[in-house]
């Protein structure tokens, strides 16, 4: 039981081989667990020699979670304002629509990129997403809003991760459409006066916003090129 649980750190094929080797050598339980743990740690450490987990974890998930919580919050505040008093936010319906596009598009795109680029280090990306969520939830003190409104972005992000992990193909038109819509929404949001309690430098937000969408476009172009070669 303990050995099988530890062996789950390994890929199924390697798990089979290693458990077979240990059975053949009649290795004791504790020694077997430590051997499997040693290999599992080596395998997971090796994954971090690549650029992908760094790009998707500390490079996207961590800062992205803070920014997306900001978008979730400003959208929720605007919705509550509309529901309570019927008064539209400063940018009107266009701003509201832009925020919604940004929240859905950016969360989904970021999730897709995380799912497709770093499947085996997904646990690290999840941890790096949870940490800012817990920090913000512990400091959230708005009576008019439930703390859950910070976490709306997790739903599209989760769907994106799932599709990214499945290796779903994105057509060129869809990828360009998403990138274009995100860029428009981003320009409308960061360069307007829509931000309230958080205002990161625009170039940082631009960079964080752009690369997942550009990745999506690049991936779609690559797969359409492959298809045309076949």
């Amino acid at each position: 039981m303990l050995l099988n649980l530890t062996a789950r750190m390994l890929e199924p094929r390697e798990r089979e081989v290693v458990l077979g080797d240990l059975a053949e050598a009649q290795t004791g339980l504790l020694q077997s667990v430590s051997q499997v743990l040693d290999l599992g740690i080596r395998r997971h450490a090796a994954l971090w020699a690549d650029w992908r987990p760094w790009m998707t974890g500390p490079g996207l998930t961590l800062p992205g979670s803070f920014l997306l919580m900001g978008v979730s919050l400003s959208l929720s505040q605007a919705c509550v304002q509309v529901a309570d008093s019927g008064a539209m936010p400063a940018g009107g319906l266009t701003w509201l629509f832009t925020q919604l596009c940004l929240l859905l598009g950016w969360s989904w795109t970021s999730g897709f990129v995380v799912g497709s680029l770093s499947r085996r280090t997904l646990w690290a990306s999840i941890a790096l997403c949870c940490w800012p969520c817990f920090v913000c939830l512990s400091k959230f003190h708005l009576e008019s809003l439930s703390p859950v409104c910070l976490l709306w972005f997790l739903i599209p992000a989760g769907l994106g991760v799932r599709q990214g992990m499945r290796g779903n193909r994105i057509s060129r038109a869809v990828a360009f459409g998403i990138a274009f819509a995100l860029t428009l929404a981003m320009v409308g949001t960061w360069h307007g006066n829509a931000q309230r309690w958080w205002s990161p430098p625009w170039w940082l937000v631009d960079a964080l916003m752009s690369w997942p969408a550009l990745y999506l476009v690049g991936r779609a172009m690559k797969s359409s090129q492959r298809r045309s070669v076949c």
Partner: protein, 102 residues
Amino acid sequence: MLGEFEYLLISVAARLGDDAYGAAIREQVEAMGRTCSIGALYTTVDRLEKKGLLETWMGEATAQRGGRAKRMVRVTKQGAAAAQEFYNSVMRASQGVSWATK
């Protein structure tokens, strides 16, 4: 140029021939008085396979292994050449030294 442990693995795999697989290689290496963890074994096998010095494939399952498959290992021509080069270098470097003449 190979590392010492890489040379050891290639030599043992070459000696075992068609019977070279993880557990057998590990047993032989440990019989030489050298500790060989499963982690060190398979990460080194992977590295050598990436360099084209070893080939691996999934072998048959046996009852002795609880019905689990083996990872078979074969030394490639490049692997044999790299091991030869390592051996020659060690032999050249050892000429005339006190421990080699004992």
